[in-house]
Amino acid sequence: MTDVTTERTETAPRVRPTAPKRPWTRDRAETLLFKVLRWVVIAFFLVATLFPFYYMVLLSLRTIQQFLLDPANLSFFSKASAGGYTAVLKPASKGGQGFLIFLRNSGIVAILTVLVTLLVSVPGAYAVSRLKFAGHRQVHALFLAVYLFPSILLAIPLFAFFTRLRLRGSLLALVIVYISQTVPVSIYMMRNYFETIPRSLEEAAMVDGASRLVVIWRVSLPLAKPAIMATSLYVFMIAWNEYLFALLFLVEDRAHWTVPLGLALLSGSVEIPTTVLMAGSVILTVPILILFYLTERLLTEGLTSGAEKG
């Protein structure tokens, strides 16, 4: 009897260390919960963002018969064919959809937009960040105004204006319109960057007798290269993806359609197989994705610089 009791009292302290060291607190419960939840949420986001694009590529590699027979088949390894791509790229005269011409148009519009936007906004951004001139503080309000008005509101008079000039169907008119949409955001992105370049560098060159323009060209622009690259890409994306103005201006002449316009207009027709248009979607999306992921860090930093200040 006595032995047993002593054994018990002896074992009791030995048991205690194996019991949970930390009590089951709210902190511990939540930490565990969020640890699990975090991966569930990450998985959810991955599926939500990647699946539509997987589906796009998948369908672009099927024939329409395969797709309609078994629409729920999501396996990548069942009989891929590149037929959709040749059908969508072939010129309309040869029974295709003529996306090659749309690609050319989109390319011309996007590249011209980038060049002219830079030509206008680089000096503008420099002036806003460096030089004191009457009204340099009010420039912001002006830019905000650009985004306050819906593009459809601007579209009405521009539509009328270019109709009068008989320029409405031309790619040039589209470029001019795009510039007005891209210049404000370009200035915003580059201004932040110019402000991080130390003034002393420029002042040193000025003391050496260089003029303002020479200083900009030789000192400021080379330093601002990353920001200029990022801005160019962003502008390229805007011009490449744009739909409303392309629709209003170019709808009448198929030879002038851009890729987004061509895809949107053709997707309304019943005769063109969905899988062929999916190939068109891939063709529209891939150039942007390549450009973006080549330069991702540059771009996201350019866009959000200044957000850290809160």
Binding site: I187, V259, L289
Partner: protein, 329 residues
């Protein structure tokens, strides 16, 4: 006397020494900003004023060439717009769409930023994937959604009817009101509107995600460490440490997303064409302009749209200002 004179000379000398430089700087500044100003003036300000003029004129697409500065001004367009039975419903859908899309995209962006804020293997890949919806062209994204949601062969309805036991295929983009039975309760849901809002949230959360992530990573780690030592649970740390630090960036995002969603045209137009109860205001302007060829009416509708947006923003800033004042008091 002498003192006054020298004082005058000194100030004059200083002014003349500083003057030319400042003036030259001002001149250079104006010269460099002038291309921008010209672009904004010609492509934005004049068009806005022109729209205002068109809104007060009886202009149709056919007589557009003849209308000039001194046309017959009338209030007819505005009375037509404001008394039209579609006006209220269009405005309501615009507001529902805007508020839903804004909240949805910011909430998703916040959650996304919270789950990738700490480094882990494959974080760069996850982060890159999350930007996909935002950078992909809107026409391609809407087309894939359309095919995915198609009632006949879309993958969503395939999975729903074959695996999840849905009784019928759901026409996500063409059904105005759907009936949903949850636990025996029957609810009417605006199917197409919810789909369009979901698209908006899906497509634009990366934008909020980028900004919120940048801000979160600038929060000094010691703050959270200190709270951890004091025994604050993760949810408490989020509520009392992280969220207050993010309020600034979230307020800015709310304004930006509200403006952009309110003015949004292509997403809705490409998904539903404005049908099934999703005729948001900008789609209505487009319809007036193209299918009804009523330029004056479209201009008036667009102006009303801009005015409503302005009122919403003023209200928001007033609210924000009052809250800030209360916070500091």
């Amino acid at each position: 006397m002498a003192g006054v004179v020298t004082e005058g000379v000194v100030t004059e000398g200083r002014r003349s020494r500083r003057g030319p430089l400042a003036r030259r700087e001002a001149r250079a500044g104006l010269a460099l900003i002038s291309p921008t100003l010209i672009v904004v003036l010609v492509m934005v300000i004049i068009p806005v004023l022109w729209t205002l003029m068109l809104a007060f004129q009886n202009v149709r697409l056919i007589n557009l060439r003849q209308t000039g500065l001194f046309g017959n001004y009338t209030l007819e367009n505005f009375t037509n717009v404001l008394t039209s039975p579609d006006f209220v419903s269009s405005l309501t859908s615009t507001l529902i769409y805007t508020v839903g899309g804004t909240i949805g995209s910011i909430a998703l962006g916040l959650v996304a930023a919270l789950v990738v804020r700490h480094p882990f293997r494959g974080r760069a890949v996850v982060r890159g994937a999350m930007l996909l919806p935002y950078i992909s062209p809107v026409v391609a994204a809407t087309f894939v959604w359309e095919v995915m949601l198609s009632p006949q062969f879309g993958i969503t309805n395939q999975i729903g009817t074959k695996l999840l036991g849905w009784k019928r295929a759901v026409p996500f983009l063409s059904e105005q009101t759907g009936h949903l039975s949850l636990f025996g309760a029957h609810v009417n849901v605006p199917t197409a509107m919810l789909t369009v809002i979901a698209f908006e949230a899906w497509r634009y959360f990366p934008f909020s995600f980028l900004f919120i992530l940048a801000r979160i990573q600038a929060i000094p780690g010691e703050l959270e460490e200190a709270a951890k030592v004091d025994g604050a649970a993760p949810s408490q740390r989020f509520r009392h440490i992280i969220l207050p630090q993010l309020s600034g960036v979230i307020a800015v995002l709310a304004v930006l997303r509200f403006i952009w969603t309110f003015n949004k045209f292509d997403d809705v137009y490409l998904l539903t064409g404005g049908g099934a109860g999703t005729q948001v205001a900008s789609v209505r302007v487009y319809e007036l302009l193209t299918s009804q060829a009523d330029v004056g009416g479209a201009a008036a509708q667009a102006m009303v749209l801009a005015a409503v947006l302005m009122v919403c923003l003023l209200g928001y800033f007033a609210l924000l200002g009052r809250r800030n004042k209360e916070g500091s008091a």
